[in-house]
């Protein structure tokens, strides 16, 4: 215990005395200050020296908080003096650093009231830098060390620290920005709180209008709601059809159908919409064929509700399928057999037993698709036309000519209300009602055959859908080799050359293709964020599955919450929150990495929970009994057994980072452009060729990464089931 306390003490003092306190213009990893400037330059000075070079008198007390543990380091760790010193110095120090950070901003006092209390302040503060980061971590962990010494979590220093770390980061990178956007909706242009203003903006015909019922156009919230309900309903039904075919028929194509469900994972969100344009747009292949063969005039029907709905159903059916296949597989065969021995026909068995048992699963699939549809940004952006939905309107409110932050905030609140409501219903109501009926005990037996009508309907959905999906992906793969869609269908490599050419210049190879910049950035950022996402996701899963603590449910809720926050909202809130001190990240790569970590964390958590629940707790206990601490236990026992789950969490984190668009589009900068936002830019210019070529490259890259990782995991998999 003393060692850990000393280690953090050193880290904290190092941060305070030796590293730059404020963020350096060119990023965290810039070490220019080591050579050129010195710590005496106000821009680079450490917290301790700021007092001399920058008049920041309020930084000095931090040293006291940091050094306080030194006074008790010789004490017994279970003495009240020891742990109370740690708890108070850590906790109050943390508070102090944060308060000073929020109080004093780029132009002196952040709040007018401080001016009148303390007088004008001429000193400015910028965002916190590497020194401040170390100081904050040190204070946080001294606080948790103190709690552990007091006996919290059976005195497990690692577990308390982990919980503290997760809570702190989730607060900083999920709750802080989202609360920020909520409060900005209540502020007027001068930053004053005005509830009436908010109400006026919130209850607005542009948002809630029902004009479309009487030949006008509806409010944007109503549009989104209609779209999401339709998309969720249809994709749930389709997903059910797929699940029934895959689980309950003797079709040879069962495996390929399951493989199809992989597709949306590796497909950037707008690619389906893009392919639909190439097929059904004004100069699309099918449109042109129809005109040629039947003289049907090309129209713009695709742009608007029908097109978005079409694209979303195509994109979300595999997602609902993945939920429902588990549900269909999970129904105990003896339930259906019992119904049959009780004289129910196949149809009646399906209606009275199979379907009701699936009801919670259907609801879960519906809500998931609903959230996805609400949050979808790519397809409405590409296919929206005049049909306005919340996610795109938030975007236009920020980036458009209007640049109306409070309008964006109000729309974001509306969007959040919808998705959070769905999330709540899912957790509170559906989550508890699940009939996981396969008990494992005495559940041999065979599933009832599907009633004929159900079977025919299912096949009627699955077959054309599959065919169409194949057509779409063929389009995506080969669309990039065509000169100009609809006009000139001759073969060309021109788009690929334009995007990915490498020329040899004076100084060796030059990555001259237009796409290289964003492509390499994307790979870079994704590769950095994927392992971090997996790590924090699995850490949270470990805490949830293996540890019991007060407020665990709230903890779980907080970590899963970001799943229900649409990317657009995250994007806007990150821009608003991290544009100003104390955390200044706009325009950096760090903001992208953080965004990916906290957006994709719930998936890692869920995967980790599933995998960890399979591991008998006695394994950990055996390790603890043998004298290992929890950290060693995780490293030596749990992680090796979880290797497949780790790999899939990393894969997923990587792929999600590459395909992400909605949040990213707000956070990219000239230095850090991402593939998806680059492609969308091209689509908006009508550059379909290069957009589709780039998309196909992304899909191929992700597919190879997935296959490569699976190959790696497959070889090292523990063959416990063969034992």
């Amino acid at each position: 215990m003393q060692k850990v306390v000393l280690a953090w003490l050193t880290v904290g003092l190092l941060g305070f005395f030796a590293l730059p306190w404020y963020a350096i213009e060119d990023g965290l990893w810039n070490f220019e200050w080591l050579i050129e400037g010195s710590l005496l330059d106000p821009d680079y000075a450490s917290g301790a020296l700021q007092f001399f070079v920058g008049d920041t008198i309020w930084l000095w007390p931090i040293a006291l908080f940091l050094a306080a543990p030194l006074t008790v380091i010789k004490q017994r760790t279970d003495s009240a003096r020891f742990y109370n010193t740690l708890i108070y110095s850590g906790g109050l120090g943390l508070l102090y650093v944060l308060i000073q950070g929020f109080l004093v901003g780029i132009a002196g006092w952040e709040y007018a009231i401080a001016d009148s209390l303390f007088g004008e302040l001429s000193v400015r503060q910028f965002g916190l830098g590497s020194g401040a980061l170390l100081v904050l971590s040190a204070l946080l962990f001294q606080f948790t060390n103190g709690l552990a010494a007091k006996g919290v979590m059976k005195g497990d220093i690692f577990v308390v620290g982990a919980i503290g770390f997760v809570i702190a980061t989730v607060l900083a990178f999920v709750f802080f920005p989202v609360l920020g956007i909520l409060s900005s909706a209540f502020q007027n242009d001068d930053g004053e709180l005005q509830a009436a203003l908010f109400l006026g903006k919130f209850f607005n015909a542009n948002i809630w209008g029902l004009g479309c019922l009487s030949n006008g156009s509806c409010g944007v919230a109503i549009n989104s709601l209609m779209l999401s309900i339709m998309a969720a309903t249809i994709s749930t039904l389709f997903g059910l059809a797929f699940a029934l075919v895959a689980a309950r028929s003797n079709l040879i194509a069962k495996k390929p159908i399951r493989a199809l469900s992989m597709l949306p994972i590796i497909t950037p969100p707008f690619v389906i919409g893009l392919a639909l344009i190439l097929l059904f747009g004004r100069s699309g292949a099918i449109t042109q064929f129809l005109e040629f063969a039947f003289g049907i005039e090309p129209s713009r029907w695709l742009y608007g509700l029908p097109g978005i709905l079409f694209a979303q159903v195509l994109a979300f059916t595999p997602i609902t399928f993945m939920v429902l296949i588990g549900v269909v597989d999970g129904i105990s065969p003896s339930m259906e057999e019992a119904a049959q021995t009780l004289r129910a026909s196949r149809w009646r068995t399906f209606i009275t037993v199979t379907l009701p048992l699936m009801r919670p699963g259907l609801a879960a699939a519906f809500l998931l698709a609903f959230i996805e549809s609400m949050a979808d940004f790519g397809n409405p952006l590409v296919l929206g036309g005049n049909f306005e939905v919340l996610s795109t309107q938030i975007f236009y409110a920020i980036v458009g000519a209007q640049n109306d932050q409070s309008k964006a905030a109000v729309l974001a609140i509306v969007l959040l209300i919808f998705t959070l409501a769905a999330f709540f219903i899912q957790r509170k109501w559906v989550g508890k009602k699940s009939y996981t009926t396969v008990t494992g005990k005495g559940d041999s037996g065979i599933h009832a055959e599907l009633p004929k009508r159900v079977k025919y309907v299912s096949f009627g959905i699955v077959m054309p859908w599959t065919l169409f999906t194949i057509v779409i992906y063929t389009m995506v793969m080969f669309g990039g080799f065509v000169k100009t869609w609809g006009l000139d269908h001759s073969f060309t490599m021109q788009h690929y050359i334009e995007a990915f050419s490498i020329t040899s210049g004076e100084h060796g190879l030059v990555w001259s293709g237009a796409a290289w910049n964003s492509f390499l950035t994307t790979l870079n950022i994704s590769a950095i964020s994927a392992p971090l996402t997996a790590a924090i996701g699995l850490l949270v899963a470990y805490l949830l599955v293996r540890q019991n603590f007060v407020g665990k449910q709230i903890f779980e809720f907080g970590t899963m919450l970001s799943f229900a926050i649409p990317g657009t909202v995250i994007g806007v809130s990150y821009v608003l929150a991290y544009n100003v001190p104390p955390i200044e990240l706009t325009g950096t790569g760090v903001i992208l990495v953080l965004c990916f970590i906290f957006r994709n964390m719930p998936v890692g958590v869920r995967g980790g929970i599933a995998a960890m629940s399979q591991l008998d707790k006695s394994l950990d206990e055996a390790s603890l009994m043998l004298g290992a601490n929890s950290f060693t236990t995780i490293r030596r026992v749990i992680l090796p057994l979880l290797r497949p789950a780790i790999f899939s969490a990393i894969t997923y984190g990587f792929v999600r980072a590459i395909t992400s668009l909605s949040a990213v589009i707000f956070l990219v900068s000239a230095d850090y452009d991402m593939a998806t936002s680059y492609i969308i830019g091209r689509v908006e210019n009508g550059d379909y060729g290069i957009a589709i070529a780039y998309s196909s490259v992304l899909i191929v890259v992700m597919l190879s990464v997935i296959l490569l990782l699976q190959l790696l995991v497959g070889k090292r998999k523990l063959h416990r089931d063969n034992a």
Partner: protein, 357 residues
């Protein structure tokens, strides 16, 4: 509900069930008399559950014929067979209340809600669960769930009632009680019942007749008494009630009995007209027929204690004798005789059976 008038016999004629090339059930024939309870007994994988499921119609036989009463049902679907089944997992519908579960079959048969619920209440009264109708299955204990499953099957007044290891999810104490209840109810209603289990004690306790299956065929079919006293083969002798198998030496035979030597003991057993007794005498010795004594006793054989285990009510021994290693259970013992002691081993006549048939 009074005595069951609906009871019908069940007959298998040369039934085979193949999964691919594997024969789960091979050329099996038997008859179950109307109103009796017959147990399908055997180790796991012997084909007993498949046999039961073929009676229910949940599996289709590959060849052969099945009759229920006078009617051939080989190709009839489950719902047309007039049989009910109590599942191992009970298979209570978790989304329906208890009364809805019990009334489910009646509703499917076309009863209106009121009549169905009335009959369902009767059924629940029969298994002692009156007033539990509104509960959900997960609010009941394991034993109660099991009774609901029985009531749900009974209210349809099926020609045949099937039980698929109905007690396996109950704890040991409850098992004994419930099996008695099932037997009582079955006898009261006179309903033809077929019962699958792998527990021979359970089978002995509830059955009119037992069909022992092994390796996809019937090993022996008879009353519990016949199976125990006249095992047809070594498998039965060992499976029903444990036995050590030894060789006897033939001395002589008359019309009804055969005289033989077991080491130095002379024994006379009914020979049931078994052939080739002169060449081979397979003898099963029941563990509880053996008593162990430290003093010299007449009419005993010499032995040495290899291992002794004190279990409170009785002592288990492994004994080395000229006949081979014998397994013995001594219920009279006050304390265990330690290993390596030289002992006299007595074998009671009624614990010795001639194997064959």
């Amino acid at each position: 509900m009074s005595a069951h008038t609906n009871a019908a016999s069940v007959e298998f004629r040369n039934i085979t069930k193949k999964y691919g090339v594997v024969k789960a059930v091979n050329e099996v024939s038997f008859t179950v008399e109307a109103g009796s309870l017959v147990t399908l007994l055997g180790p796991s994988g012997c084909g007993k559950t498949t046999t039961l499921r073929m009676i229910a119609g949940l599996e289709q036989s590959s060849s052969g014929q099945i009759f229920i009463g006078d009617q051939e049902v080989t190709n009839l679907s489950v719902m047309d067979r007039d049989v009910s089944m109590v599942f191992q997992s009970y298979a209570l519908f978790p989304h329906m209340s208890v009364i809805e579960n019990v009334a489910y079959g009646l509703r499917e048969q076309g009863y209106n809600k009121k009549d169905a619920y009335e009959k369902a209440e009767d059924g629940m009264a029969m298994v002692g669960l009156s007033g539990f109708g509104k509960r959900m299955p997960n609010q009941l204990s394991g034993g109660q769930q099991q009774r609901v499953a029985v009531a749900r099957a009974l209210v349809l007044k099926p020609k045949v009632l099937l039980f698929d290891e109905p007690l396996s999810n109950l704890d040991a104490k409850l098992r004994r009680k419930v099996r008695e209840e099932i037997r009582e109810l079955q006898q009261k209603l006179g309903i033809t019942s077929i019962y699958v289990t792998h527990d021979q004690e359970e089978a002995m306790a509830v059955s009119d007749k037992i069909i022992v299956m092994n390796d996809s065929v019937i090993s022996q079919h008879g009353t519990p008494h016949a199976l125990y006293e006249q095992p047809k083969n070594l498998f039965i002798a060992d499976f029903i009630g444990d036995a050590t198998l030894v060789d006897g030496r033939f001395i002589s035979a008359n019309e009804s009995h055969v005289k033989l030597h077991l080491d130095t003991l002379e024994v006379e057993l009914p020979h049931r007209n078994l052939p080739n007794l002169e060449q081979k005498l397979d003898i099963a010795i029941r563990p509880h027929a053996i008593s162990v004594h430290t003093q010299e006793i007449s009419n005993s054989i010499k032995g040495k204690v290899l291992k002794s285990t004190y279990l409170g009510g009785h002592v288990e021994y492994e004994l080395e004798t000229a006949l081979g290693v014998l397994f013995a259970v001594d219920h009279q013992a006050v304390s265990a005789i330690p290993a390596t002691t030289m002992v006299s081993v007595c074998i009671a006549q009624q614990g010795i059976a001639l194997v064959g048939g």
